[in-house]
Amino acid sequence: MDQQAILDALPAEVVVLNRTGHIVAVNEAWRRFAKENGGNPALSDGLGLDYVAACRGLQGKDAAEAGAIADGLVALLSGRLPDFVREYPCHAPDSQHWFALRAAPLHDPAGGAVVVHLDITERKLAEQALQQARSQAAQAARFNAVGVLASALIHELSQPLSAAGFYSGTAVSLLEQAEPDPEQLSRVIHGVEEQIQRAATILQRLREFLRRREMRMRPVAIDEVVAHAMELAQGFAADRAVQISYLLPAPGAVVMADAVQIAQVLVNLVANGIQAIDSAEPTRRKIDIRVDPRPREIEVSVVDTGPGLSAELQTQLFDILAMANGSGLGMGLAISRDIVEAHGGKLWVDPDVIEGASVHFTLPLTQTREPE
């Protein structure tokens, strides 16, 4: 069997090493590659060359990578490793290339190994493009909280509408009977009325939430504001399988605030977190809200398990948002910060978090009320 012909027929670059790491055979693809890259001329046919030493001898930016490859090959040749695979970049001045080196021992008493270099540039470029698209989507999602209220509307309104529909159907069916019971009929129709009222209340609350209006400051319990915001965001979170928890409630903590505006801030922060989580698909899908009482203020934190904010993004965060979101719905962080500052508080993004993003704001405390 002509082994050289077999080797030459392979499209990947192949080198066969003996036990001491010297080249005993190379194939046509290898020779062509070595020539095109203008490397060490000894490598281009390379027979007898110490391949491991040549890797170690490499200087410059590829030295570390080549050193790691040399270590791997030594381990493989000495039988300490069953096989060895390493992906490495090998960029030309005008284009990017990646290769996967795959080495396997020869099943021969004399030892040795076969080393194959595969061009994986296409796969690497595809991975990079995907990564980039993901992080762009994750960032774009942070700037948009519009979906929250639509979700809340669908979730909340479908309840009374459904119930009213079922009551009406029951009423019709009762009337089709020979002798309808007037008392039962009245009770069922009353049910329809109640459900319509329930829908009206939901609309009223959402309308109030959306309306741009003068600030109305009054003492409000922060727990109630958090509960209200969570209720509004619940549908949006459930649709995206994100769990919202209120850790560390602060019973009795009262701030002088416009309750609707602070709820808006919270909904906005929670929505940002939900969208960040949804775009990145982490295994943990949680948002924690916590309230830490301080002597003169409270600190409210919203922490998500999303991809987090890069340092670069953090610096632009407020500017971009100020430009991008002027509508009553997509308030963005800039408007949230304005609202908090109008209340005499501060809003900031925690730069040092391990997981996800962590946004905080403070509100001055007016008094402490005993829990009722």
Binding site: S162, Y167, Q234
Partner: protein, 209 residues
Amino acid sequence: MNDDQTVFLVDDDEALRESLGLLLAQAGLRVRAFNSARAFLEAFAAEDSGCLVLDLRMPEMTGLDLQTALLQKGSSLPVIFLSGYGDVPTTVRAIKGGAIDFLEKPVANEILIAHVRNALLEDRRRRAEQAEARMIHASFDQLSPREREILVLATKGLTSKEIARYLGISFRTVENHRAHVIEKMQAKNIAELCRMAAICLATDQHPTL
């Protein structure tokens, strides 16, 4: 038509529970309503026949969890999911778990009732199928090892003569066994016997030969 069947209704919204319960009762269906998946699972026994209408806004248990719990109880109760939103992942999970149906709220009364009636028919069909499979398995268990061997060969299309040659026994012995198999399995003809054998050999612990 639904004398022995119950529509189990699980809904965490009181108004929905009451109104839907009334509507289904008005349609002549027997209804039992629960305010949580847990309460329903505690009350439900595998022999209970009917269907489940599931509407949970903030489920302490997903549709899939509930279905898994039902299957663990040995019940293949058909489930109709009511949802306020076309949440695709949940839908897909529900269907993968074996749910037969998924409706978005608000749903027209006639459509909901039609789906409930379909689910009840499906439940009846599944139960009949399971009862028949149990009977066939019981008959199969009565066969001797030799009879099983002959059943398998016969349902593969071998004639008695071929079976006799294959097993090295007399034609008459094969014919005798064959008659016993048909008798014990209570099969009307060889075609039915083939169907029964397929049910036993596909689902089960009986070793193939």
